[in-house]
Amino acid sequence: MTEGGRPEFISYDPPTERYHTVTGSAGGYLDGPFARARFGCRGYNARARQADSFDGRYHFATDPENGHLIRCLDFEKQEVRTLLPDQRRSKGIVADSKGRLLVVLWQRGTSQLVYVTPDGKSENGPALEMGQDGWTPVLALDEKNGRLYGTAYLKAPYKWYVWYWNLTDGSFHGVLPSPPKGGPRRKQNELGPFEGAYLYGEGGVDFGPDDPDKRFLYMGRCDTAYLFRLDLEKKLLEGFDAIEGRFKSTGFPRSTVYPTTYYYPPLGWMKDGSFVGGRSHLCYLYRRIK
């Protein structure tokens, strides 16, 4: 989904480096064929969340200007439809391997997990314990361990940059702590143990395709343009050093290898472990980082 006021979805094909409009033209709202479906825009003040189905048939996106409705792009039928049409609250989304979309309806107090299928059938999951409050979470799913990781633009004061919900009982568990105001902390972006990490702004999280044990949670941060990685086993904040060509867990990340200026994880993982990042006018392909 493009920014800058173009209500369109753009595809990018890394092998040919071609990118084109897939669907969307005039602004507004209309479900139907790719050729004439209409969307609102996302923008600086209107976060959209996106997810791909496990089999690649569907792409899901929240449509902030249309009340955060979930728009489902069906690449088999070249057709757009709306899921949960009555749910106009801000929401985070992520897809699982069973063909379902996990939707977190996020608001003050208790939040709710909803499972929805591409044909629109929905089923409530557990109520989610809210450790802190914020806007429009970015989600990453660990099905092996039954965890739903989240990060968001949070209302201060908050305690956790990154957390997870237990998918069985909805309980909240902090992962990457945010240092208390005036408390001990390292320099901004300095790598090392989770405790004492100090980061700027909001972020995005995602697991890579070559990590079945879900040990490494990748993370981008707003405006920072560094690619971080959370080693969930060793509880280390790692960062990519483009000059050394590796992730490291001390010092600082180097080079703006991660191009998105806002709050997104890598825009798309490729089968070989590469990921595609993007920004306003161009898309960049980044080769696999080990």
């Binding site: 209500p7 033209s25 005039a26 050729a35 209409r38 923008g43 600086y44 690449f75 006018h281």
Partner: protein
């Protein structure tokens, strides 16, 4: 939120001030729809006036048929239709300008020496965009069915614009041949279909910086005698917009861009203002640009969305097309013989929680940049938006405006709609 409120108020004010079909000494014809090509959706029209009517060219279709799960499918052709002075379509079936493989997109059109020249970006090579052109007679005969390759170097040559400069067709485009950043190139095409500058002429090189410093979306207008003014927008680290005067295909005044505003002053076109639209009048030029960009850092200009330039391309005055503050997108401008006609879209908010829809507006502006007539709300509702307007004129007070008319339901294709504004 403050910005959204301002947008809403400004948009409603324009809707209320405009009236249809007639106000003052200006009259509007009812909307007519152009025929579809093979029932394919119609996108991004461009238009030019010829002898006794207009030629409208558009992109027909966008994606190929079938499943796109494993691979993306694309296919678009360029088609056209003639419209007479009464706004009546003259062709029952669109004329096919190009049906080459893959995509033909973003057409633009000019008329000179009794010929139309259509230019577009073309992906028939399957790798990157090239610039193609085709001549069309006023009778609707396509003279170059395979297209004329204007520029086909490695990497993208795209988003072309064309003007008749009195001697030849001057084509301009953004060019990635550097494999680093986009630069502005141009080439002339003769009425015999020969590309007079086969290598392309560099009109503005990229800004040298680590981040690239691209130049984007050139606009061109000519006052004849082989001269054209070319404007463009820049990458945000490469300065703001700029322009050059081109004569016989070569840059003759590299400093024509004295209008270039600074983003922090928000007075002129900045790095998010593209595309720019440009028209030539008897004493100078009118340029307009996108001023609506969703809120946050680096938004569009707030203090203007158009400017008047003198014959040499020097900035004279900033203005709003509607005569008061409003945000616009997708503008197009033309000199109608006694005033500039300007078409654009605004995003209209009907109710909270519902996305703004696109609506098309049209007005006339004097050479000095003052409103001449009312702002006409031409088309566009939430149920059936209108977008991508393009304007042309007979030079005698009649403005032709074509735009995408989007359907109320998903089973109806997007069509090209058409209206005339007659000013007495």
């Amino acid at each position: 939120m403050k910005r959204i409120s301002v947008l809403l108020i400004a948009s409603l004010a324009v809707v209320l001030s405009g009236s249809s079909p007639a106000e003052g000494s200006e009259t509007l014809t009812p909307e007519a729809l152009l025929p579809l090509h093979n029932r394919k959706d119609a996108y991004t029209p461009a238009m030019a006036y010829g002898k006794e009517g207009c030629l409208v060219v558009w992109q027909s279709g966008r994606t190929g048929e079938g499943s796109m799960v494993k691979s993306l499918l694309y296919g678009a052709d360029l088609v056209a239709c003639r419209v007479d002075m009464n706004g009546k379509p003259l062709d029952k079936e669109p004329i096919v300008l190009s049906s080459a493989t893959d995509l033909q997109e973003k057409p633009h059109l000019a008329f000179g020496d009794n010929l139309f020249l259509a230019v577009w970006q073309d992906l028939r090579n399957g790798k990157d965009y090239d610039i193609y052109a085709a001549r069309v007679t006023p009778e609707g005969k396509v003279l170059d069915k395979e297209g004329i390759l204007v520029s086909g170097l490695p990497h993208n040559q795209c988003i072309p614009k064309v003007a008749w400069d009195g001697k030849a067709f001057q084509v301009v485009w953004q060019d990635f041949r550097s494999n680093v950043s986009y630069e502005i190139y141009g080439a002339r095409v003769s009425t015999t279909g020969k590309v007079l500058d086969p290598e392309g002429v560099l009109l503005k090189k990229r800004f040298t910086s680590r981040s690239g410093g691209s130049r984007y979306s050139p606009a061109i207008a000519s006052r004849g005698e082989g001269k054209s003014l070319v404007l463009w927008c820049s990458h945000w680290r490469g300065g703001n917009s700029g322009g050059v005067m081109v004569e016989e295909g070569q840059v003759v005044d590299e400093d024509a861009n004295t209008f270039a505003g600074r983003n922090i002053k928000t007075d002129g076109p900045n790095w998010v203002s593209h595309p720019i639209a440009l028209a030539a009048g008897p004493d100078g030029f009118l340029a307009s640009w996108m001023s609506f960009v969703p809120g946050g850092r680096g938004g569009g200009t707030r203090d203007s969305n158009a400017m008047v330039l003198d014959k040499s391309g020097k900035h004279m005055k900033y203005l709003f097309l509607a005569g008061k503050q409003h945000y616009i997108r997708q503008s197009d401008v033309i000199w109608d013989g006694s005033a500039y006609s300007a078409g654009w879209i605004e995003r209209i908010v009907v109710k909270r929680g519902q996305a703004p829809h696109d609506a098309v507006f049209l007005t006339r502006i004097s050479q000095q940049g003052e409103p001449v007539g009312p702002v006409h709300a031409m088309a566009g509702t939430f149920e059936s938006p209108a977008s991508k307007p393009t304007v042309a004129t007979d030079g005698k007070g009649t403005t032709f405006i074509a735009y995408e008319r989007h359907p109320k339901t998903g089973d109806v294709p997007i069509k090209i709609a058409f209206r005339l504004l007659r000013a007495k």
